[in-house]
Amino acid sequence: MSSREQMLSDVRQALGRKAGQPPAAQPKARIAIPSLPVEERIRLFQERLEVLGGKVRRAATYADAAGVVGELLQGATAVASNAPALRHAGVTAIPNVTSGYSDEPSLRAACASAPFGITGADYGLAETGSIVTIAANEARLISLLPPVHIALLSKARMLTGLDEFYTLHPRPATQSASTVFITGPSRSADIEMILVRGVHGPRVIHVIVIEEELI
């Protein structure tokens, strides 16, 4: 008997179930979305993220957001993801910002040396101060290898929290191979419970919240 057959048979025998037997009725999923006006959501998001050492900036338009990015970079090199919002904002046109990587080796090489990584954010989660990336055009290494991560988030995408996200995306795997919630800069307290930032991921995260809605 294969390991698969053996394991399934052990489990069924222990539970007194038969192959192909349907499951008992599932407990209903618990989803509770609080109602919170958008300005409140942004205020809460900022409060929660800043407690963790993250930074929040506001911008009226995508073009203004690109201006904020330029200020943060001060001419340093950066890798930007292939999110359409970054191109639309003009972030990819900032000098020393490279983008459009589609092959892994060159993306990896660029991320390993760049001091800044710039991505979009598909959502913000106010209750936890998190950003969510679900889109396939958000390369994972960009928010991971460079020491500073900058993310652009449209105000309209600010959700209350996990429950609202899972209502909009009950099956995230149907959209992409990887959905990531990022809640503040990389951290560790493994040595004497002393907080250290930037252990493997970025030590700084800036989220620029933009009034303009991208259509």
């Binding site: 489990v11 990896r108 009950p170 992409s176 493997h200």
Partner: protein
Amino acid sequence: MPLIQIQQDEQIRSTVADSKIQRAVYSATARLKEKRSEVVSAEALPEYQELRTQANLIKKHTLENLDYYLEQFEQNLTANGGKLIWARDGKEVADFILNLAKERGVKMLVKSKSMTTEEIHLNEHLEHHGIDPVETDLGEYIIQLAHDRPYHIVAPAVHMTRLDVADVLEKNLKVQREEEPEKQAMIARHTLREKFLAAGIGISGGNFLVADSGAVTIIENEGNARLTTTAPRIHISVVGIEKMIPRAQDLAVFLKLLGRSGTGQLLTVYTSFLSGPRRAGDADGPDEFYVILMDNGRSRLLADEEKRQSLYCIRCGACLNACPVYRKIGGHNYPGAYSGPIGAIITPQYHGIKENPWLPFASSLCGACAEVCPVKIDIPKILLELRKEVVESRASDGDSFTERKAFQMYAWMMRRPKLYALAGKMASTFAGLPGVTSFGPAAKWARTREVPLPAAKSFRDQWRDRKKGAQ
């Protein structure tokens, strides 16, 4: 042989006497306890109890129908382009990884923190066959360099001071000695960054397997799990069958509980939901994505409806921080990978009660563990069940012969008042003498207890005298 032999007796004494370890573990667990209390309080999270109840219900339901969800998970993971490997035990896990590494010519692999691979001593197996597994969680990395083992489910190096860490890094990496945690972490970041980019395989654990999505959910704070699951071309998650949950939507419940209970965080820094290899158009992510579903004694626990709840555990570590025994004897005196109250119930069940019969007895049954458990596992009740099993299995072996005889004699004497009075008198005369409790079974009993001295005058004598006085 006595009923319960605590093999680690000497080792426990030395831990209790070690003021450095006592201070480190006490203050770390106190801090984690406090942080947890703040974020689960009624003001901070009014729905906390409701979330616990829901988490308990979901785990109960999933395990009761586990075969269905295992197959559903397999179907969805396969549809996503991933591959499911079924492993009955640790050897099958190691064999699969070794064969794959050999086939692809991989000599070095990176690992993110996984209690499941600790449980099966995966690193030793790999090293034995010439493969170099590199732990990448900061605490785990230090532990690996020190040839030590994790002290705590969520804080593996909690027993070490920064000076210990300085020694370990200096000696093993031949770097300049640094005593500041910040600088020590940067040494690790620098060294491990090269490993991430060079490793052929990344191995992770998994906090949840999501059946309706064929996805593995991993939570962490450092980013090492994201790197492990992203940079190498091949990814393997090693996960116990009990980590299954039915729907992605159920994560709305579990994620709120796990970070809060473990480290007092609303969410950990990174929550990754990974459902297979990179897809067309993805710029990065692994080309091959494997999930190894491991049994290793778990299905055996399913048969008993009461003890089945041991498998609800989401490895937050809150019961360790709450446990007066763990906080005193520390993590290394528990056999196996899992320490504290949860270790005391799952280790003897995974490996059989005969291996570690003393474990269920290493508890005062104060109930602090059950009170903080986010999925409401009734740990004290399971400890009692396991004690019962140990006693039943030993009674027939004649181990409790002395105890049985003692109680038979006591019962016989209780029915003879004159003899009982005489025995009482003798006890109060002799028990006070030095040395009476230094021999035989009495000595073992007295070693960890205050022996109460019988009163100079028995109750019966006092009663008689009072009656006389009243007349």
